[in-house]
Symmetry: C2
Subunit: 281 residues, 2 copies
């Protein structure tokens, strides 16, 4: 049992054991699954289990995305639960839900995600403010990873707005995350896109030890060298480099699991090379 470990401790231990900062995103799109997998929820579960099985020694964490399981229809949450159960208990699992709601509703989400479905961490959005996030932040030792500077091209529409104080909105959010991490029992992290290395560096400067979840490598064009250099924590870890499609759909024939393993291994090694280069710099 690892339930007494906090998310941060569990992640630190796992990063050490696997020698990896790679977070494998599980975004099952039925139309993209390899030959031989029909589009049923059972097929999605089988496919995800094969990806997990092929990459489990290479992954620091897994990150299923709620949307793709919802898109399976009425049995999507059952499939999500089956996939979560298939991941070894010493590997942290983050539900990418980007949730935001308040009061009783946030309590219901928190209960569903952490208690019913048993995830170690969850992504949430900050627009509703602190009281809306409290039901997640109050979960001792769970990870609450707040959208800060997202990887999409238009993330600046709101996130780069300059405030009257002279601060940019995403840096204001980063400062909130630092304060919440100090004040609440949960471990608070930030989502920062690999597509914005300069912003990543500034967020890391302000939040030296918090977990940063870094999407946007691979398919979205983020550069591993600059983002690992900018995003690594003061202790050399706590950066989770997330890749989904470039691993899950690396192959589309019978060798898809080997292709996924090879893609995951290459990315892990590339990330580690930049990590070591920075350490020795």
């Amino acid at each position: 049992m690892t339930t007494s470990l906090s998310f941060q401790d569990k992640l630190d231990a796992r990063i050490g054991v696997a020698d990896s900062l790679l977070c494998v995103g599980l975004d099952p799109v039925t139309a993209k699954m390899p030959q031989g997998f029909a589009g049923s929820p059972e097929a999605v579960v089988s496919f995800c289990k094969e990806i997990v099985s092929a990459t489990r020694d290479l992954a620091a964490a897994y990150k299923p995305n709620l949307a793709f399981f919802m898109a399976l229809g009425t049995r999507g949450l059952e499939a999500l639960h089956s996939v979560r159960e298939a991941i070894p208990s010493d590997i942290p699992v983050i539900l990418d839900g980007k949730l935001n709601d308040m009061g009783e509703t946030a309590k219901a989400y928190s209960s569903a995600v952490f208690d019913t479905l048993g995830f170690d961490a969850l992504t949430v959005a900050p627009y509703l403010g602190e009281d809306a996030l409290a039901p997640y932040l109050e979960k001792r030792g769970r990870g609450v990873i707040v959208l800060c500077k997202t990887s999409n091209p238009g993330s600046g529409d709101l996130q780069d707005l300059e405030l009257a104080s002279g601060e940019l909105l995403h840096l204001y959010v980063a400062d909130c995350c630092r304060e919440w991490d100090r004040r609440y029992p949960a471990n608070v992290g930030m989502v920062v896109g690999a597509t914005y290395p300069a912003q990543l560096a500034e967020i890391r400067r302000r939040c030296p030890d918090q977990v940063i979840l870094l999407p946007g490598l691979g398919a979205q064009g983020g550069d591993a060298a600059s983002s690992v250099r900018a995003g690594i924590s003061s202790s050399g870890g706590r950066l989770l480099c997330s890749a989904s499609r470039s691993i899950m759909y690396a192959g589309d024939t019978a060798d898809f699991a080997e292709a996924a393993r090879a893609a995951a291994g290459r990315l892990r090694d590339e990330i580690n090379a930049h990590r070591r280069a920075r350490r020795s710099a």
Copy 2:
């Protein structure tokens, strides 16, 4: 079939037929359900169907909240679909998901919510920017209702931040919503809490004809008189006053459906009285 009507047209027609601005929120909490309902997904569906049946002539719209169905566990989406199917087809149904994601993920959500589950409208959060909302905004005639100024006590943490331009963040979002409504095939509305009537009045001034979804009456303490006065559109409608707990849990014994009907009727009539007072003012 009403699928050729836009969300806005369907809502206008329904507001006229039902003579109502009341949106009945469906937030099933198993612990609060009346005696005789066990906590199973089937019981939740039966309970929600009874609430719909008791209030259907009084409701301008229904609004199930995704969180409470997720909290049911692996069969939650099946229950959500059953509840959605039980609502007469001429009444608009809004999924309160407060979603925010991007790219392929947003496409998956959009497909799940509008195509698989068949909702008329969806609530979304703006923090990720326009390109992240495009998969919803591109759905012709569906409703995309953007969190603008939410009803919770801490909504100002981010939403009331003053920008360098002198604008407040939630008004910047309202201006985006007006522009998106003009540029995209979907009907774009805003969520504005009844707990903030002054902010509601300013948002309505900037967005005279768009749908405003108004939570926060009843349990959260919003005042019907000031918020109906401030929030009604130039044509006298397009304001959806949402109440959930005060209707669903109005009674907890065998008469719960009658109690829900009585509570819904009182609130509809109260809202209409303020609406008519404003019209004749």
